[in-house]
């Protein structure tokens, strides 16, 4: 309850410190109990930090002002599925994978598959504006949610409507509020018949720029892939996704990082991130697009193939080379694994972090290059273009840098220098992203990590944000110190 999966907080754990423990933990089992806790906290002016499964990566649930950690995982009664109406009512403490299993038994899916699905809750998805890996087809969580039940900072209960209503969309003002405006207790989500078939492909492009151009053409064609992820040359090569060649030709220092090499070798290679990044530039550069379509019912396989083949024909006109089904199927089989490969790197004294930014197609390549250049002196960096829309795309950068001593040797002094190196990398990356016109976050949220850049994102919109805080939480008790509120 004193941290989530923010990599900076993992450095705390490595140094055996927990700087922000909550004073108490509450486990409400019903909305009524949430109301009781909030009314108590409002009367006593005690902070409340809502907590789901703790998979956030920005420090959004770190109780920096102490108070009550409100663990919502007991709000996990059985979902009410109405497949003919395409809706499911769910309590926010419900684990993501559990929800999909229950939906699957009813022949349904929400289609929200974040890589954290095993260790995240519906409430966490809504609080942070989460995205799943199939967002091109199903949308992000703000596209999937139809209504929410929320306890505001005064302990009043409100329920937004899954029906036409007049005035500003209250649901969209609450989704993404990271626990600062209200505590979401229930949600109605869109659900769909579960796909009967997946059609997967790998498509290779000569350069990442050619891949970006092709991805734009695909997304504007009206076809709706479930998966459309473009890996930059390094990400393509290191994962062995590049078809013929695989990892052949990858210099030793890069392999040490990706293969979770021995501590000393890894630390040696990360001492010179700029050199590593220059090695990457010399690699043969092809870029891989993982493409997937889905179909439902008895015609599902034919439907998925029909759209897939139309997409492959279209991408061929943009220089895309069809690598067959294997790269796509391999991605599908391994799609949650990467998140669990990071422990050896942290133990060795490295940090691994990811930055999720997004912009429109016209600015995308410039954003990609600007962030690579800015991060190169600080960390080893690679990227993939992970969530594509009609008018733009997100970029998911992965940084690997040297943060401090290996596990067991880290102390408070080491932590201080480790945090400084970590923060330098992030400041460079976020400054470059802001300068390139990108949004600071596509789906991780803001938390503690990005909030100093929030005024650059919103400008005078910070006035609107503060007004929302005054309206929803006049006592200032809900997750204080987040979103600069």
């Amino acid at each position: 309850m004193s941290r989530d999966c923010w990599p900076r907080a993992l450095l705390w754990t490595k140094a055996a410190v927990a700087p922000h423990p909550p004073d108490v933990v509450a486990w409400p089992a019903s909305t009524a109990e949430v109301v009781q806790v909030v009314r108590y906290a409002a009367a006593q002016k005690v902070p409340i930090v809502p907590f789901g499964a703790g998979s956030g990566v920005c420090g959004g649930t770190v109780p920096i002002k102490g108070g009550i950690a409100l663990d919502l995982k007991r709000l996990s009664g059985p979902p009410v599925i109405d497949l003919p109406a395409r809706t499911v009512d769910v309590e926010v403490g419900t684990n993501g994978q559990r929800l999909e299993e229950l939906l699957g038994a009813a022949g349904a899916t929400v289609g929200h598959f974040p890589s954290s699905i095993y260790c995240s809750t519906v409430g966490g998805w809504l609080a942070a504006r989460s995205a799943g890996q199939l967002s091109s087809r199903y949308g992000k969580i703000e596209d999937i949610v139809l209504g929410v039940e929320v306890v505001d900072g005064t302990g009043e209960l409100l329920r937004t409507q899954d029906a036409p209503c007049v005035g500003p969309d209250l649901t969209q003002l609450l989704v993404g509020s990271e626990g600062t405006l209200g505590i979401i207790t229930k949600a109605r989500l869109r659900c769909w018949p579960r796909p009967s078939s997946h059609w997967m492909r790998g498509i290779r492009f000569a350069t990442v720029q050619a891949g970006i151009a092709a991805l734009r053409v695909l997304m504007r064609s009206g076809l709706r892939p479930a998966v459309a992820r473009l890996y930059d040359p390094l990400d393509t090569l290191l994962a062995g996704r590049g078809g013929s060649g695989g990892r052949i030709g990858v210099p030793e220092p890069l392999r040490w990082i990706v293969d979770g090499a021995q501590t000393e070798a890894l630390r040696l290679s990360l001492r010179a991130p700029a050199l590593l990044n220059r090695l990457v530039e010399a690699l043969p550069a092809s870029s891989l697009l993982i493409l997937g379509f889905e179909g439902e019912g008895p015609q599902g396989a034919d439907d998925a193939r029909e759209e897939g083949e139309a997409a492959v024909r279209l991408l061929a006109t943009e220089g895309g080379e069809d690598l067959g089904a294997t790269p796509g199927e391999k991605w599908l089989a391994n799609r949650y694994r990467i998140s669990y490969r990071q422990s050896p790197l942290f133990s060795a004294g490295a940090f691994v972090d990811t930055m999720d930014v997004a912009t429109t197609w016209d600015r995308l390549d410039a954003l990609y290059r600007a962030v690579l250049d800015a991060v190169a002196p600080h960390a080893f960096v690679m990227a993939h273009f992970s969530h594509a829309y009609l008018e733009g795309c997100s970029i998911y950068f992965t940084f690997v840098g040297l943060a401090g001593a290996p596990a067991g040797e880290s102390d408070v002094e080491d932590l201080e220098s480790a945090e400084t190196r970590y923060d330098s990398c992030w400041n460079a990356a976020l400054s470059a992203a802001c300068d390139a016109g990108a949004t600071l976050s596509h789906h991780h949220g803001i938390g503690l990590q990005k909030q100093v850049f929030l005024p650059r994102e919103h400008g005078e919109g910070m006035r609107q944000l503060r007004a929302l805080k005054q309206a929803f939480d006049p006592n200032g008790i809900l997750n204080p110190g987040k979103l600069l509120l």
Binding site: D162, S221, R224, T359, T360, E457, Q470
Partner: protein, 321 residues
Amino acid sequence: MRGNGDAPVEPPANGALLELVALDRVASMDSATGIARVEAGCSVAALETAARRAGATLGPLLPSVRAGSVGAWLAGPTRGDRGIPGARRETAALSLAAVLADGHLAESRAAPRSATGPDLDHLALGGAGRLCVIATAWIRLFPAAPPAYAAWHMPDVATGVAAIAQLCRDRLAPARGMVRVREGGVLAAMSWEGPESARIFRDRATRRLGERLAIDAGPEVRAPASARGVEIDARWESLEQLARRADVAEIALYGMHAGGAFAVLSLASLGVEQCAEAARATGATVVAPRRLRAAAPSWAEMGAGAIWTRLVAALGAEEAA
């Protein structure tokens, strides 16, 4: 507020009318990315003309939206929503620059999606200018391409509407639909858009609904909805209920998604006021004519009346009478 194309508005007794007609520029048009930067007073028709010239389009929109200004569209009851492939809706406003009550200009980042707190654009979208005034917007555009059309005979209007609802629930949402009583029966005509997808989805719909009529369904879809119709936002349950009325003459559908649609509803022998009343009785909200729209936001009905009051005060905005 009033922009180009908007009907004359009487200024409130203790206030002023904000004429935005001079804010009418299409500042940029990028059809490759599919975005245009436009001032709020520009008419939707002028924006569509500029988009078409560049090979792009706003896509199908309700007649009242198409007749008014961009500001009225975004601040109005449809919140700029449009249907997108996959039977979903999203707002056409990629980002907004809005003037706050204290005179500051708040401009959001032009990104396809973001996770940087609440979506602040939603203080302006659908807000009817109560909380802030939209000055400029980045608008999302579709590529312009010939639609695929199809039409079927239906035993009655209710069956036609139910068939379209099921297509939407099965992700085959048309871009436009028209269910119309004609001499000798009921016709359901639809169009699908998308350079590569229109025919695929039209043909899948044909497999569901049976062989389509051997007619050019384009004129049937494009024919203006009855001038006596009322424009509504409704769930499919509401639309199916309205379609079962004996006096239903025509239902034109836009912005369809798995849960419902915008519609122009025409009931034979009933005036616009009675049409609106019938629609409201099913849970629909009125989009046009403007005089029949609900006056106040639905926040109080959702338990957020006190929040609305505090929000208005915090923003320094004042409720118009």
